[in-house]
Symmetry: C2
Subunit: 375 residues, 2 copies
């Protein structure tokens, strides 16, 4: 078996090229993890996800514990076998979705009780319960349960919440069964306050995790504020552990975060956008619903290797989305996941070649030439 490990093989400024080793294979970082909420990256077969170059996917503990249930997935051989994904899997703790999706929540020092948004059934999620559920799912990277207050809250509330998340981090570490090739990540909280972020990071490092996530960002604040928080926080994060920016983000968010030293990302943006007609391209975003695509025989992105771009025209995909045909979301999702993976591959290659600056300049130049809609 392989020990869970992280090694840096090159740096360029603060950006790092690295490899995370897990029991289910390696993750080359910077990495983007497509989100497979309920055990499926929506509208894609798992083999197709792997074909884009994705090495790790994310599963949502909240959704999976409610349906089909963690015990069932364990009986069926774990989430890898269940969803036919041979590579590494990261699961979140369930906390974020409890706060955003469930009904009648009650938060205490012990944990949170809530009612399922599916059938109203009552559940309790404690730091220990979350670890146990993620063990049943056989997640390679387990996330601690944390509290995610609104980023608009007072500093006092953010501070109190950060303290609770730290105590839950301790309990998560104690509950985690340290199996070979499996890791546990702590989550830095503290809102937009540099001192709280520093305190949170140091507290987590004292406990000791296999990696550290940045939580509570990408929740509606401007990009510059997000980057400012990262600028303050990164110096206090361990150099020899992977850094994971939760729920981020747009291509520009990712590029800016990689520049600042972030290694891992997840976001529903490529998949969710795909279902509503938005395509990410090397020349900017495309809203394929726009009437100007109705007669366009060109592919969405002539440099893209995905089936949507190899085999179909913008006119066809425009038609599919207008007609609400399932193939529309299927093709656009694949394309967007491919775009994100290509972006990460470009970032990794540039860091390895020590020309990340040039890559980033090109990235912003092309974007600022204007939306592909005008082309």
């Amino acid at each position: 078996m392989t020990a869970f490990s992280y090694t840096v093989s090159a740096t360029d400024g603060s950006a790092r090229l690295g490899q995370v080793q897990t029991a289910h294979g390696v993750i080359d970082t910077p990495a983007f993890m497509p989100v497979g909420t309920a055990g499926t990256v929506k509208a894609m077969m798992s083999n197709s996800v792997a074909q884009t170059g994705a090495q790790i996917v994310l599963g949502n503990t909240y959704h999976l514990m409610l349906r089909p249930g963690a015990d069932r997935i364990e009986r069926l051989g774990g989430l890898h076998r269940f969803m036919n994904w041979a590579g590494p899997i990261l699961t979140d703790s369930g906390g974020f979705q409890v706060m955003s999706l469930s009904k009648l929540r009650k938060m205490t020092e012990a944990g949170v009780t809530f009612q399922s948004h599916l059938d109203g059934s009552k559940h309790e999620l404690t730091p220990e319960a979350s670890i146990e559920i993620q063990r049943k799912l056989d997640s390679n990277i387990t996330m601690q349960l944390d509290e995610c207050p609104a980023h608009t809250e007072d500093k006092k509330i953010i501070d109190t919440s950060m303290g609770l998340s730290l105590r839950w981090a301790r309990r998560s570490k104690d509950a985690f069964d340290d199996r070979e090739g499996y890791g546990l990540f702590g989550i830095v909280q503290g809102g937009v306050f540099d001192d709280l972020r520093e305190q949170s990071a140091k507290g987590l490092i004292d406990i000791g995790f296999n990696g550290y996530a940045v939580g509570g960002l990408a929740v509606g604040e401007p990009q510059e504020m997000m980057f400012k928080v990262l600028d303050g926080l990164i110096p206090h994060m361990q150099k020899d552990k992977p850094r994971y920016m939760m729920g981020v983000g747009t291509p520009a968010d990712i590029v800016g975060s990689v520049l600042r030293g972030i290694d891992m990302f997840d976001c529903v943006m490529p998949t969710r956008s795909g279902r509503t007609g938005k395509a990410f391209t090397r020349r900017g975003d495309v809203n394929i619903r726009n009437a100007r695509h109705a007669d366009d025989p060109r592919p969405i992105d002539e440099h893209c290797i995905c089936p949507a771009c190899k085999d179909y025209s913008r006119a066809y995909i425009h038609h599919l989305i207008k007609a609400r045909e399932i193939l529309g979301p299927m093709l656009l999702t694949w394309h967007n996941v491919q775009y994100y993976q290509d972006l990460m591959a470009g970032l990794r290659e540039s860091i390895g070649a020590s020309n990340l600056d040039a890559f980033v300049k090109r990235f912003h130049n092309i974007k600022s030439q204007g939306d592909i809609e005008q082309l």
Copy 2:
């Protein structure tokens, strides 16, 4: 270029093994044509459809003329290029959907005027217009416009309607541009009345078509009545032209019709059923929504080569369908289309080996052992 042709290479009783040659390739018959209503076999990429062994797909003139429009598809290089389907395509005349989907219809000797179900826009469909639209779509097999009265109507009404369809057949033939590798099919009407069916068939043969379809069946009548109509009709159909049973049907409908000498089929059943959780298997039908599948690690059909059966369990697909995940319809549709193609391949092989009886016996035996639900 290849001339449009049909050759019989073997027979077994009334059943025929044949090949239809078109400008876009060969169709081995008996053949099942997956339905690609709006230019897409719902929830499948065109390459996946080809992977199941399907050699021809069907497009719906009514849907395509309204959205994205026949002129647009012509400008974009025809339906083959538009939907990335290199093989033959058959399109219906649009008449059936005008009657079942559109609003405010008015039928005259000239044709039918109707309002689009999408936006209320007014359209006219005449025999000549239908031929012209199908030419713009670049359909390899064009269907004549016909009238499809309810099968419960009086004989007098069926008779009158059949006469109109015959006159429209004549006009369709006159309007059809006889390009190399493209064919026009007439449609036999006459309800459940043997004399009307005979009269319709003879009238069409007098006009002369590249193939003959049986219309107005599989519209709610019992299977035995459908077979009885076929038994009466087949002796009056040409031996050296393909016979196409429109909108049929269940696996048992197809097997019974092939036994009686039918060569081509289309039906939304495999695709539509896939979207609602029904799987066809060698042991009978499976409703994957049934709770008994929730913990079942076995594939839907262990003899099936489709991705749903190779890579995923019944438990997983049950979960996908319950959770309304797009991957559920994607996998079940692929499986069902694969099942239908495997069924046709089995029929063709058995006719070629002159042991169709044994195949049919096995087919019915396995079915009567009971639903796979009990296994």
